[in-house]
């Protein structure tokens, strides 16, 4: 256990409601998307006013020109009288906001907390969006033109050079996640892709190609957390961190923040990765799904590519990964993503996803903030 951290048993926290918008290119204002998601989650929980609102948004100042965003969203939602805060940890903001909501209920400060996350960015040109997202990178590395795809390219080259994965295995992540998203009406991409299409798509940051990367998406997602028992319990939440600068790290082929987040979440849950039936992993770049499978202990070291190619992580496999389509194909509306992953887990655990249903009682959601500087693992259990 880290110094300064208290152990001890955690009171039970449950998910009482879940909602999200279709992800993709959306014309509505972000506040409207967040209201759709939030009102859906509140209606399902049977609550008009939660005790508190936690808002997740990564760059509303830059994308929209809006600040004071907790009050901005709470007022739009009709919850101006409810205490509201905003939480931001770059691309894992949704997962971090969920943690803040969880901590409020676990501490007994509130009986019900609404967490709502969203992002809107498709109205800006791609280079501008890349530049804004890239502000989460170490300033020195950014001054050399490092973008998220550039850093992911460096990582992918190191993975390939060490023969930890092959280009075919990386391509299979995209193929599998597109196939899952084709069954998800909330997903950005509804069409499957072939390994050849992935491996012949436009080069972005060598050796990373366009179809290895998630799209730029708009969308919002929300959950209501409560102290009263429901069908889904929060079994554990863990955070892991690392240096802002990627160059300061000993390894490019494993994320310390992944390993620390998993360790903390499993420690809180009192069980290990062998209990996980399915997972939503942060596949902003396809190779990250393979790195994370191993970092989180879901497959043995060196096996992620093989199990993916063998279909073990497919919807009908032993350990379905990203049944929603993942960031790769459901889409990645930044601060919505960590919450959208949990919405998918809740819907899966309660049998509400139709054709893409996978069996299971214990789900894992994994979110990467920045280039793995602030990562989260959340464990949900059907009870």
């Amino acid at each position: 256990m880290r110094p300064g951290k208290l152990g001890g048993s955690m009171p039970n926290v449950y998910i009482a409601g879940a909602g999200m918008t279709r992800v993709g290119r959306r014309s509505e204002p972000l506040q409207e998307l967040m209201a759709d998601a939030a009102h859906g989650a509140l209606a399902e929980a049977g609550i008009e006013q939660p005790g508190m609102v936690v808002v997740a948004a990564m760059n509303p100042e830059e994308f929209l020109g809006d600040g004071n965003f907790a009050s901005n969203v709470a007022t739009y939602l009709g919850l101006a009288d409810v205490p509201a805060i905003r939480v931001e940890t770059a691309t894992s903001s949704g997962a971090a906001a969920f943690y803040a909501a969880f901590a409020q209920v676990a501490a007994g400060l509130y009986d019900s907390v609404l967490v709502v996350g969203g992002e809107k960015m498709t109205h800006l040109a791609t280079p501008k969006v890349s530049e804004i997202i890239g502000r989460s990178i170490d300033p020195y590395e950014r001054s050399y033109g490092a973008t998220m795809p550039a850093l992911a390219g460096l990582i992918t080259r190191a993975l390939l050079a060490r023969k930890l994965v092959t280009l075919r295995e990386i391509a299979q992540v995209a193929v599998k996640n597109h196939a899952n998203a084709a069954l998800n009406p909330y997903a950005h991409f509804q069409q499957p892709v072939t390994p050849e299409e992935v491996m012949e798509s436009r080069m972005v940051a060598e050796p990373l190609r366009l179809l290895h990367c998630c799209p730029i998406s708009d969308g919002a997602a929300a959950l209501v957390l409560r102290a009263q028992r429901t069908a889904v319990r929060v079994a554990g939440v863990g955070q892991g961190t690392d240096t802002l600068a990627v160059r300061h790290r000993d390894s490019l082929t494993s994320f310390k923040a992944n390993r620390a987040a998993a360790r903390a979440a499993f420690e809180m849950a009192g069980f290990g990765p062998e209990r996980i039936d399915f997972a939503e992993l942060h596949d902003a770049f396809a190779p990250f799904e393979l790195i994370s499978l191993e970092d989180l202990g879901l497959v043995p070291p060196g096996k992620a590519g093989r199990v993916t190619l063998d279909g073990e992580t497919a919807r009908d496999g032993r350990l379905p990964i990203n049944p929603s389509g993942g960031l790769k194909a459901r889409g990645h509306p930044l601060a919505a993503t960590g919450i959208a992953q949990l919405v998918e887990c809740v819907w899966q655990l309660t049998g509400r996803v139709g054709a893409r249903q996978v069996p299971g009682r214990v789900a894992l959601a994994h979110s990467i903030g920045g280039l793995a500087t602030n990562n989260w693992v959340t464990l949900l259990e059907a009870v």
């Binding site: 890239g134 033109g145 490092a146 460096l154 940051a205 060598e206 160059r247």
Partner: protein, 140 residues
């Protein structure tokens, strides 16, 4: 040889470049130091849609400097470059570039660093052996 400004943590001895006020891993002030501008490629990429203010294709590498720090820099080209390749780093207008060392340059560097004749020969032999080995793969 280019000397690169860096910082050392008095607690854990970690070296980071460029200099930082505090150690990333300890809340203590770092001590100024320099590291030689030679090292090995940890990884590299070529960006085909470079961000605003840069021209495509843009070569970016992480280099493990001999002084211990890992450094990010540009390169003019990546032909023949692989992970583990030895590179020299030079500053042009305050921007750092790596260049892939040829056999002569490598020999010259080892010549300068080696203490006496026997070491020189050994160093050159090691350098050539390493060059052959580097055609295989290396840990990052």
């Amino acid at each position: 040889m280019t000397e690169i400004a860096a910082s050392r943590c008095p607690r854990c001895q970690a070296v980071v470049a460029p200099p930082a006020t505090y150690c990333p891993w300890h809340p203590v002030a770092m001590t100024p130091t320099t590291v030689p501008g030679v090292g090995e490629i940890v990884s590299f990429t070529t960006l085909h849609s470079a961000p605003e203010g840069f021209r495509s294709p843009l070569h970016i590498a992480i280099v493990e400097l001999e002084g211990g720090a890992r450094f990010v820099c540009h390169g003019d080209e990546t032909r023949g470059l692989r992970i583990g390749s030895s590179v020299a780093i030079e500053a042009i207008d305050d921007v750092y570039y790596f260049s892939h060392l040829g056999a002569l340059e490598r020999a010259r560097l080892f010549w300068r660093r080696a203490g006496h004749a026997g070491d020189r020969v050994n160093a050159i032999a090691r350098s050539l052996a390493k060059r052959v080995l580097n055609r295989g793969t290396r840990a990052s």
